[in-house]
Amino acid sequence: MPREELISPDGLRTDGRRPLEVRKITCRIGILPRADGSCHLEMGNTVVLATVYGPRELSSRQPFSGIIRCEYSMATFASTDRRRRGKKSDRTSVEIASSIKKTFESVLLTDLFPHSRVDVYIQVLQADGGERSAAINAVTIAMVNAGIPMKDLIISCSSGYMENTTVMDLNNVETLVRGPQLTLAIYAHSGKVALAHWESKAAFEIFEHLIAVAKEGCLQILDVIHSNIEKYSLRLIASRDSISRK
């Protein structure tokens, strides 16, 4: 079977990136006025919409610290995949939702909102690889937008190994090769690992290399996300007092 060349002789990838280059990130913060926090994040051609509601009333008063609920779904038009999928019954969606929930449980200060819940809804609008990373990044921004107290930002990036090269932030074509792949989420400031999701086996020699590359990708993404949050926030602060009579 003729295999597509994933890395050209010049060392460029299928979408023209270098191996250690993340895709272009654009995010629009607070686009849904009725939600507490929302973020529309594009990482290359992967587009994710994350919505956060809460902290809000939890009907049962059992748990003393707040809880997080997370729902992940992929729009039917998001990929070329023509499988019919139920909204919530999809196994991968449930798995991603629960891993994101656990990741954020570790970073939100849930004891500051007892007897309340935070609802997170993630919708993938375009799937071009790295949906899990994009979802995590979008949720982080939406959480900040909702003003929910958290210890740190969580930033995620993927990495993979193919044709003797370690590459950063895989796209769909590179994901489909099913080589050793890693989705890593780190705490932005401490650099500790919040989530690591491995796809297929990785040889011991490339294991650390994959982690290092994914981490480097996270830091690149962090720069973009942090400056986006700052720009958005400062604009709102300035806007608040900008109204005055001449």
């Binding site: 849904l32 809460g54 009333e57 909702a146 003003g147 210890k151 720009k231 400062l234 007092d241 900008s242």
Partner: protein, 305 residues
Amino acid sequence: MDWQQEGMKDPPVVQSLLQQETSFVPSLAKSSQFVAPGDDILSQESVVRGHGTMVQGSRLISTVAGLVERVNKLVAVLPIRARYSAEVGDVVVGRIRDVVSRKWKVDVNARQDAVLLLSAVNLPGGVQRRRTYEDELKMREFFDQDDLISAEVQELKQDGLIMLHTRSLKYGKLENGVFIAVTPQLVKRSKKHFHHLVCGVDIILGNNGYIWIYINESTSNSQEMKELSFPEKQENAKSSLNQKLSVIRVRNAIHILNSYFLSIQPETIMYIYEETIQREIPVRNMLRSDVMYEIYKTVTNTKEV
């Protein structure tokens, strides 16, 4: 009643319009430090940490995105947008969500529903007396589900539970007016939250970002003081069409302020109100996104992008 209206159907266009406004470079925010969650807060030794901060090892870090506020040794970070966090004495507008034994659960846009005890309301008749079993049965006659009320924060429990009271003639059930929900951070705490605007409209600026707009009959034609807490169902025929239109104009003015994240105070509301009258914009056109943008540019002196 028939013109009660909720802020539920805001056009999302408005917010995306705000998004496009990227060229608007903030300058005044430079005076204090901006932090995102996890960022270090620049500080000397021995500070008292306030809201929005936490200590991790030897670092003082922020837990929300906002500007660092310093008052003497107290260091706090106020989130730019967040749910309402109550303080004792706040005036709030809320919606009854549930009636349970001896108390009402009230939605006040906070992290959890506030509680209004049966013993914390003024009963009809005005006399101080014990709450009987009969009162308990008649609770739904006082405030029923989905009723809007104004109240004051009486107490904050350890776990953040908000206790309300309506033990003043100022507070009680809200009828014959318009409701709008805004970002709570846009409403500043002040001495006064019941305002009588120059245009003859009254507003209650709830600290929680819920706002009630109405025509106060007793101030417009001073009648005998009625039991404010439990007024008889008023016929809204009393207010004229013009009054209703100015109520809605005020409501739309507040909506414009909210969509562009502008501070909501009586002065700013009246500024927008007068601006739309000067431009002869009819009430029904006020929420068109191009009109809103025009007004926004005028009131903030933002130059054309």
